[in-house]
């Protein structure tokens, strides 16, 4: 049940809060190395916006990976994995981790959570980079780290089942539609695919996202919001008849309006945030990441030197916890 889940309690944000969290982890990471940084290296430290684009390019690649995955995975695995990924990078910074491997670990974990049984051997066979044995080892090592980072909140409520629910409700209640409701399915699935590369899964309940997908499908069929309104009226129990409508309770009408607004807000959000990642962008992210990750061991050395030069001995406080989760050595 979503309303009592950790997803709602811990991992659902307002847009402002989300931006604040991202800014904070970015600043913390920057502060850690600021004192030992040379000016020409400063440009390697990216802004939160750039970090987000890096995430998007990985997500894009991951969705392609998921579509090519054999055996075919069901969509909720994708949703779960990407939710894990997005949540993880509200704690970690992309520069500090091998972001690609984290994504693979997210998928591997999501398959377990979603009861899509697969062995690690079969899993790494689907990866086309790196040595299979090494990949397997790294994924398995990352998995507990990832779970810890997620605070073991592993249940993800996906919008696919609510989508089926809405569709079933529509088919049952809207008997006077002059088109086949099944025709919206393809477009709705495309909407979900786009939504996966946005922040909506950190912002809205799955039932609303599902309704947005329905509306997206209806729009793609050239229908207006009126169908959605009528559907909601029937769900809430507001009479369409103008005479009876006078008796409708104002809070019901308010709910209807708010839901329509929210659905369109989600649609707009997805439209705005979903920007296909270009090949060029991906390459630049890749080189940027590899440069900073090559630099980090050296920066750590410098921090240690500074620590010792300051007359302090022993291990730096927090040095163990600040170890990078896994270095990208591809």
């Amino acid at each position: 049940m979503y309303s009592t889940s950790t997803q709602k309690r811990e991992w659902t944000y307002t847009p402002e809060k989300l931006a604040a969290v991202r800014l904070e982890i970015n600043i913390t990471f920057r502060q850690k190395y600021e004192s030992v940084m040379k000016p020409e290296e400063l440009e390697l430290f990216v802004t939160p916006e750039e970090e987000l684009r890096m995430q998007r390019s990985i997500e894009d690649a991951a969705l392609k990976f998921a579509d090519k995955f054999r055996p075919h995975i069901w969509p909720s695995v994708k949703w779960t994995a990407l939710s894990f990924f997005k949540r993880a990078f509200l704690v970690w910074v992309p520069s500090d981790t091998s972001i690609r491997m984290v994504m693979m670990a997210c998928f591997y974990l999501a398959m377990k959570i979603d009861e899509f049984y697969i062995t690690i051997e079969d899993f790494v066979r689907n990866m086309n980079v790196g040595d299979p044995r090494q990949n397997a080892e790294r994924i398995l090592k990352l998995e507990p780290e990832l779970m810890k980072c997620l605070n073991y909140n592993l249940t993800v409520h996906c919008p696919y089942r609510p989508f089926e629910g809405h569709l079933m409700d529509m088919k049952t209640r809207m008997l006077l539609l002059n088109f086949d409701l099944e025709s919206i399915r393809r477009d709705s699935m495309r909407f979900f695919q786009h939504a996966l590369q946005t922040d909506v899964l950190l912002l809205y309940p799955p039932s609303q996202i599902a309704l947005a997908a329905i509306n997206y499908g209806l729009h793609a069929q050239g229908k207006s919001d009126e169908i959605l309104r009528e559907f909601l009226r029937k769900l809430i129990g507001i009479e369409e008849d103008s005479w009876a409508a006078r008796d409708a309770r104002p809070e019901d009408l308010e709910k209807l309006e708010k839901t329509v607004t929210r659905v369109n807000q989600i649609l707009k959000e997805v439209e705005k945030q979903y920007v296909a990642v270009t090949e060029q962008e991906r390459e630049s992210h890749k080189s940027q990441l590899s440069r900073i990750q090559a630099l980090i061991p050296e920066l750590d050395e410098r921090r240690k030197a500074e620590w010792e030069a300051g007359g302090r001995i022993g291990q730096m406080p927090g040095a163990v916890t600040e170890q990078p989760v896994d270095s990208d050595d591809e």
């Binding site: 088919k171 039932s207 129990g237 708010k258």
Partner: protein, 313 residues
Amino acid sequence: MSKIRECKKCKSNEYTNKQLVMMINECGHPLCKNCVDNIFALNSGNCHVCARVLRKNGFREQIYDDPLIDKETFLRRKLRKVYNLKQDDFETLKEFGDYQERFETLVYNLVFETNVNETNAEIQAFEEKNKEKIDRNKRRLDDDQKWIEDQLRDERQMKARMTEHMETDARDKENATAVTDTRKIMDELRDSNVAAEVILDRERKKQIEKELEEKEEQEKRKRRNKEMLQTRKRAAENMSFNTVIRIAGRAYLHQPLELVINGPPMPNASQIESMGYLAHIRNATPDLIAGGYTSALGCSRALFEARIDLFAF
């Protein structure tokens, strides 16, 4: 007592029958009183274990839990009536010891039923041979019995002395108060100028009241004792092992749990069927149904998830 007493024949035991009385005959196989009444209605019958012919009046109440011990004490007592020779009937201590040892052997033989015929013959021979001594000893007590008698007598005397002492004490006390009372009355009669009849009347009245009070008190005490006895008896009769109903705290009031959906209302199970939802979901295959799944279940799950927090803004 670790073991429950149970009749081997009718399987009734102390729990099922609170008035269970176990009986035992010379063969040492216990039976409950009901069974004895049933089986030995014609005064004789066979033992249900060893099929020995027994008579109804041979049954006695079983005192010890172990039937073997019960049998032994019974036989021992019976045999003592014959073997009642005292130490001074023998010339030496060794002879007396041999006699006692022999007695134990006989008891053992009878209890475990080894060489019963020989044993009985020996007992009979002994009885005939020592007839005089046995008859004489019937009235004679040995040292141990004498000692016990002495002790009992002492105790009785002690008790009697105590009660006597207490009674005299009480009487003395009463006399003392009576004496002061009469003296007080005499003084009053002499000194006051109230009529003598009035004073005497008053005193008589007082006395009667006192007597009445005492009587009442005694009756009350008697009644209380009787009540106590009765309640105890009743409790013993109605002893029960049921859970005791204790009244503590407020009574539990069931309130059905409220499911907060924060969305449009859920159709219930019958509505899902009647509104035709099931036409839009895959039919459950037989193996899924065998596993407890119905298509209505899947349907309601999808509908529920579509509604939950739909109005969370």
